[in-house]
Assembly symmetry: C2
Homo-oligomer: 340 residues x 2
């Protein structure tokens, strides 16, 4: 018999989750008190700043249950949050997890989701210290608050970009968005290269890279690509009060994206500039730091591309096409409510 959440109730479910968490290898030293009280208690290390983020996934919207194992659902939710901490230059420490359940989920599924969380946290010696479970009549949801630490004075904000800075991006933005489209169109199976599908279903974060970039002191601003390249670049433009030029010719295109774009008979750039949650790093730096930063990222085997330049705010955001023409860039990335 498959055990449903409604068969065992909230307290038994929390007990099972606690056993999974307690079974994980790392026992946090800074933690004074974890799961099982009104609140978790911890004390930070001297010399570090605390960094905290929260992000949520709703079934059907942020993850496709039919195409993912429960462990992958858990990993994806945690990666979203780890990516945010890394994009600030931080390292994850403690997570609090809220689950909104309909009570029809199987107990096994929930346990697997927690195992997915832990798979992503353990490499950082980070752990789950609290949370809550609530009943919802709608879509299952996962909401995670992640608390991290960053070296004092080495936090990377969105607000430091200046005209003349280079715009750099890691990896291949647009992969996740293309992968999502392949999945919903039922075309994923027809491709030899599953890279794009994996980019959506099993994304990886660049938190270690982000931490090293922040510690280097060589970057002027940084964020992760979670809404799509133009939407996220717009956030840097807005908070730094600057404009940006992207060069179509320099946008990084993977073989997989080339193949898929050809199949859809569109340009790969259409995927790169569309909403896509790639969890890559978008950062800016003065041009003389590019080489040093490339060397830091090379140690992680992390590709990075110089895709454009920061310009004065009056010039707005533009794409310089391969034919030399300028096209105003749409500042809107992924907007959950107006683009349904």
């Amino acid at each position: 018999m498959t055990l449903k959440v409604s068969d065992i109730g909230e307290f038994e479910l929390i007990d099972r989750i606690r056993r999974i968490i307690d079974g994980a290898g790392y026992k946090p030293g800074l933690l004074i008190h974890g799961i099982g009280d009104d609140a978790a208690v911890f004390t930070p290390e001297p010399g570090f700043e605390m960094v905290v983020t929260c992000d949520s996934m709703v079934e059907g919207r942020h993850y496709l249950k039919a195409h993912m194992t429960a462990i992958e659902v858990g990993r994806r939710a945690m990666v979203m949050n780890i990516s945010d901490i890394g994009a600030m230059g931080g390292i994850p420490l403690y997570a609090l997890v809220t689950l909104g359940l309909t009570s029809l989920e199987t107990v096994h599924e929930i346990e697997e989701i927690y195992r997915g969380f832990i798979q992503e946290l353990e490499p950082f010696n980070a752990s789950i210290i609290g949370g809550n479970i609530t009943k919802t009549a709608g879509n299952t949801f996962i909401d995670i608050t992640l608390i991290g630490k960053a070296n004092r004075g080495h936090i990377a904000l969105r607000s430091g970009a200046k005209p003349g800075d280079a715009i750099m991006v890691t990896g291949y933005p647009g992969s996740s968005g293309a992968g999502y489209r392949l999945i919903v169109d039922g075309l994923a199976q027809s491709l030899a290269d599953k890279t794009l599908m994996d980019a959506y279903l099993r994304p990886a974060h660049r938190a270690r890279e982000g931490h090293e970039l922040a510690v280097s002191g060589l970057i002027s601003s940084m964020m992760d690509v979670s809404d799509g390249l133009p939407g996220d670049l717009y956030h840097i433009c807005e908070t730094s009060s600057i404009g940006a030029e992207l060069w179509e010719e320099m946008l990084p295109v993977s073989n997989a994206l080339n193949e898929t774009s050809a199949m859809y008979k569109i340009s790969p750039v259409d995927f790169i500039l569309a909403p896509s949650d790639d969890y890559e790093l978008l950062f800016t730096c003065v041009p003389q730091n590019i080489e040093k930063l490339e060397r830091i990222l090379a140690e992680f085997g992390c590709p990075v591309t110089h895709i454009g330049d920061i310009v004065p705010i009056a010039q707005g955001m533009t794409l310089i096409k391969k034919n030399g023409k300028r096209k105003p860039l749409n500042k809107k990335g992924w907007d959950h409510f107006t683009t349904v």
Copy 2:
């Protein structure tokens, strides 16, 4: 025209929320970076521990939109979390808020919910430093992570109760549960006394009292009453490895609860021992500390009652009835999934 969330989209909504938060009086000193980046950044004060909790409310289940203003919805959600921090002996500092919206909510409603959050945070000079908004197809939900500080070494856990300790409770547990029943039965209007309805719709926390009790060093365990008296007492019994005796005769009964119980032709005790989220404090202490603790609480105008004693674990949890008979106490409080 009533502006819907779908009319303005996520980014405009976040901008409006930011304006409300920035308009609030208090500007946190410890905060390095708040809303508008991948994560918030803060650094704690020396001499304090950090305390963190998260809790969520789902429309229809944890709040009744038809009976509450949006400000009240926001206040109630924040009170739940402030109560958890206070029950640890902490003082709230920073909140992160996740909203799950269907996009049919009005913009005004969302803004009012945030005003409600701020009304509860401002007395503590606490503020909202981040969060996220997500789309859901089901019930609207609010998930809050609240981070607080507590004096180093003065944190109140559930685990310190010992046989011989007195069991104490503030206020009148059962009020919120009775109020909820009056509302869903449509009987609230027939009563002169609206205390019970208010206990459910507009609950107050005892965080300041909780902080003072923890700082006093005179208590052995503490938690807030959010699931109902027996369910929460069970948590203390379980984590402290002890049993408990409650005296029916000593349970605090308000005039309002007497009146409502008479109307339902049941004993007020049935409400007091039923699921009820009262946000009162349940704590234990050695008997010689009772008087000092009563004096501390009297300064807040906070009623407190000695309702029973901690006994060895072998005796379990029992209620001593007015006729002297013992009745095993049901250890289950409110369980979201098995009691639908």
